[in-house]
């Protein structure tokens, strides 16, 4: 259940809430409805895969603010699809810049909505996959000794063993041992893979 892709629908209008949730459910989505942003944020579980479909203008806290709160939550980006009655360009631009999947104008066409939701799902899946991959890498990295981590950064920076030994004040042979042990721990064979991995880590930071 927790693994199922869930759509978090937030709109202050109960009619709209019912209609959109019914439509989404026909596609087999798990839909959770919230009539106010506060209720949604209180109950929100970032670990559950899914996306948020938010009304832009709501009393109290509007959709863009929810998006900001969700982004601030940490490593994971909950995909957000906006629906709006007004559809003015500045709001749309702000939303898209903040990483929204789409900015849909009410009344929302099913095709547009499904398309946006499926994109959100893909994004969510991708970001979840990335996230778990990261977590794996980070777990591996956390097993490295401080010396091995130093060697790692120098290797990624493209330095030769000899240069690294010089920088760290040791001999080339010692560096070679650290290097092979680090590669083994991380399960990486080539320097190219190591660089790609560290880039991912940097991206997610």
């Amino acid at each position: 259940m927790t693994d199922k892709f869930t759509i978090y629908l937030v709109d202050d209008d109960p009619g709209v809430l019912k209609g959109l949730s019914r439509l989404l459910r026909t596609r087999g989505y798990e839909v959770k409805v919230y009539s106010s942003p506060r209720l949604f944020l209180d109950e929100h579980d970032m670990t559950v895969p899914g996306c948020a479909v938010l009304d832009v203008s709501m009393p109290g806290l509007d959709g863009l603010e929810i998006q900001r709160v969700l982004s601030a939550a940490g490593g994971y980006h909950r995909p957000v699809v906006f629906v709006t009655g007004k559809g003015d360009i500045p709001t749309g631009v702000r939303a898209m810049k903040a990483g929204a999947i789409d900015f849909l104008t009410k009344p929302v066409n099913d095709k547009d909505l499904f398309e946006a939701v499926s994109r959100a799902e893909a994004r969510d899946t991708e970001s979840r996959r990335l996230h778990s991959e990261m977590e794996l890498i980070e777990a591996k990295v956390s097993t490295l000794t401080p010396r091995e981590r130093e060697v790692l950064t120098h290797v990624v920076a493209g330095q030769l063993n000899k240069q690294i030994a010089g920088d760290l004040g040791t001999v080339e042979k010692t560096i070679k041992v650290h290097r092979s042990r680090m590669m083994e721990k991380l399960g990486i064979r080539s320097v190219a893979d190591l660089v790609r991995m560290t880039e991912k880590l940097n991206l997610s930071k």
Partner: protein, 716 residues
């Protein structure tokens, strides 16, 4: 008593004297009198033998019963009785008449004889002629050949010669009668003719002189005067004469005194007791002589109003009656004149008033309730389109009244409380189908405290006023409408939101249903839910559009029962979007018991929307967290329901205070300055009150109060 006449009975002079005396005697005598008369006829028979035979006759006649008193008539009777008294009336007192002073002087009378001396005054008769004919130069004097006539001849010559005024005198004495008549007819016109006596003419014919006066004066070609009363009335002008009646009366008085025992010797003879100027008016007229030239105290005889002398009492009475009648008639005339004047003034004033009324397009009317009669000025015809010849009746007026107003008009004429002026406006349909408004002002006048049957009043044509009012109302409606449009324009985002939400829900539900239907085993229950939801949402959208349409609709105000709480809710429902956009929270605090008022829900909604919009505008610079509006309903005073809008805005600034309701006063960059003016007008039209004050805790409080109206029927 014996009346002894000198002549026969045809002599008017002695007859008149005898009549006068006889009447007086019978009137005044204390004892019955036997009056005998004898005529001596001495004019005809002058010989002494006749005289003695006559004396014998009388002696024989009165031997047994001699008279106690003798009255002689005619001058020659006195010498006779003096000579023969002892024959038939020994020692009887004698009262004589018609004796000239000369004869009286010539006779030596015994002591118990007295009487009336008559002087025939030729001088004064001549004086009368001179006065009447001052230019006359010739004088003709007529006298006959008898004894008396000859005496006159000498008297006349003497008097005329003594007169101051000198005439060319012709004495027509001793002529034959025929000759005399001829002579008289030749007398020139400007002469004076004096007729004395003609007892006999030159041929010895005897005459009664008075009888000659007629033919002689008729023949004469000049006025004739005479000293004898008996001639007057026969044609002569007149003269200074003795009236023989008065002579008779005086003689009778003397006789009565003697009979009463008075000694005749002590009674002196009297001369001319009743002499006067007497003239015949007809003769004056014949000769063209002027009455004004007559001496004073002249008696004018035979003047037309002789009736006067005969019927004096009747005439006086008649004159009095006529005078009285004239007076009454005069008074009536004066009164009539006054009345006419008053009537004229009244008429004039009425005309003026009618004219003024007509000029002001006012008709005056009066109605008698009991008799069902209507009076109205002509101008009313024009106002009511009643034909010239048609009668101005109550029905004629009522038939011109618009059928819808007929009841009002009838009521105005019928049931009017005393002294309570009533005003009713009715429509009149003119023959050309033109409709005009007429205001009936009615007032009943109570008479003597009791309810009056009369209602009076005016008709005023107020069509122009009505159309002006309609124009103003239309303009106000127009402005109200424009204001609503402008409010809705400001709210367009919010309204679009309100419609977009149900549309979104509808589309989603519809598409969901389609998807469900496309499935192999469609979930019918879910489809039904979706469809029901569509219906619900569609209704919701329809509701919004309905509200909008009502607000946008132009038209007249409609009075209906309005639930104040519903009014607040439906107004707020249009504002949701706007409130969200402006980050304003709105709270309602509605009275538990909903109050109804009577009015136009659209207008009231407009007021509320305006107030809330103002509240929202006022909070533009208020921190978001503090932006809130509270709308509450309730009643602070009996019979009224209040709607209060509180905001947390800047409140009413000091410089705005007192000007907020002024038209075109605005503090907003985009305002017209009509919002509050209009709100106030609308609330006033609903018998309510709109106030704006500052809240002590900040912000402003707008409040309007409306009278609570419960429907007469039971709404439960």
């Amino acid at each position: 008593m014996l009346m002894l006449h000198a002549f026969n009975y045809t002599f008017p002079a002695s007859t008149l004297i005898a009549d006068g005396a006889r009447k007086r005697l019978l009137e005044r005598s204390p004892q019955p009198l036997e009056i005998d008369a004898d005529f001596l006829d001495l004019a005809r028979n002058t010989d002494a033998e006749y005289e003695s035979r006559m004396a014998m006759f009388l002696r024989t006649k009165y031997e047994k019963r001699p008279p106690d008193l003798v009255i002689t008539l005619g001058s020659v009777a006195l010498p006779f009785i003096v000579r023969h008294r002892d024959d038939f009336a020994p020692n009887a007192p004698v009262v004589f008449t018609s004796v000239s002073p000369q004869n009286y002087g010539a006779l030596r009378l015994p002591p118990n004889i007295t009487g009336i001396i008559s002087e025939f005054d030729l001088g004064k008769t001549l004086a009368l002629a001179e006065r009447l004919q001052p230019e006359a130069s010739r004088l003709f004097v007529i006298a006959g050949s008898g004894e008396v006539d000859r005496r006159w001849q000498s008297t006349a010559r003497k008097i005329i010669e003594d007169r101051k005024r000198k005439f060319e005198v012709t004495y027509l004495f001793e002529h034959s009668y025929a000759n005399l008549v001829e002579e008289v007819s030749r007398i020139p016109r400007d002469s004076i003719v004096i007729l004395l006596t003609v007892f006999a003419d030159s041929k010895g014919n005897a005459f009664v002189p008075a009888q000659l006066a007629g033919p002689l004066s008729a023949a004469s070609s000049a006025p004739v005067y005479a000293p004898y009363d008996t001639y007057i009335g026969k044609g002569i002008v007149g003269g200074f004469v003795e009236t023989f009646e008065s002579v008779g009366v005086r003689a009778a008085d003397m006789a009565l005194q003697i009979l009463a025992g008075k000694d005749p010797a002590t009674i002196a003879p009297e001369t001319n007791p009743g002499q006067t100027y007497r003239v015949d008016h007809r003769a004056l007229a014949r000769w063209g002589l002027q009455e004004s030239k007559l001496p004073p105290d002249t008696v004018v005889l035979f003047k037309e109003p002789t009736i006067w002398s005969e019927h004096r009492g009747v005439v006086v009475a008649a004159i009095l009656i006529v005078a009285l009648q004239s007076l009454i008639v005069g008074a009536l005339l004066v009164q009539r004149r006054r009345r006419l004047r008053a009537e004229n003034l009244l008429k004039e004033s009425e005309e003026r008033m009618t004219f003024a009324a007509a000029a002001a397009n006012i008709g005056l009317w009066k109605f008698d309730r009991h008799r069902n009669e209507l009076w109205a000025t002509e101008h009313c015809r024009a106002m009511f389109g009643i034909a010239r010849d048609a009668p101005l009746t109550r029905d004629a007026f009522l038939s011109a009244v618009h059928p819808d107003d007929l009841q009002t008009a009838t009521r105005a004429l019928r049931s009017l409380e005393a002294e309570q002026p009533a005003v009713s406006d009715v429509r009149i349909v003119l023959p050309g189908k033109e409709v005009r408004w007429v205001r009936m002002r009615a007032r009943s006048r109570s008479e003597g405290g009791s309810q009056s049957n009369h209602i009076g009043g005016i008709f005023v044509d107020i069509t122009e006023q009505k159309s002006a009012e309609a124009e103003v109302a239309l303009q106000r409606q127009e402005v109200e409408h424009l204001m609503r449009v402008s409010v809705l324009g400001e709210l367009s985002g919010s309204i679009a939101h309100e419609i977009n939400q149900p549309l979104t829900a509808i589309l989603s539900n519809a598409q969901a249903a389609l998807h469900l239907l496309a499935q192999e085993l469609p979930d019918i229950a879910e489809i039904r839910d979706a469809l029901e939801e569509i219906v619900h949402e569609d209704n919701r959208a329809g509701e919004v559009i309905h509200r909008l349409r009502r607000l946008l609709k132009k038209g007249q105000r409609q009075a209906e029962y309005v639930n104040i709480n519903d009014l607040v809710r439906s107004s707020v429902s249009l504002l949701n979007g706007e409130l969200i956009v402006r980050d304003i929270s709105l709270r309602l605090d509605l009275d538990h018991a909903p109050s109804l008022t009577c009015g136009d829900s659209v207008q009231l909604q407009q007021v509320l929307l305006n107030l809330v919009m103002n509240a929202m505008d006022a909070m533009a610079s208020t921190p978001i967290a503090q932006r809130s509006i509270l709308i509450s309903t309730g009643g602070s005073q009996a019979g009224m329901v209040d709607v209060i809008v509180r905001d947390r805005g800047h409140g009413i600034r000091a410089k705005e205070n007192g000007r907020l309701f002024e038209p075109f006063y605005t503090t907003k960059s985009h305002g017209l300055g009509l919002g509050l003016t209009l709100c106030s007008t609308i609330i006033h039209a609903h018998q309510g009150k709109l106030t704006l004050v500052n809240d002590e805790r900040g912000g402003a409080i707008a409040k309007f109060s409306l009278p609570v109206q419960q429907p007469t029927f039971d709404i439960a």
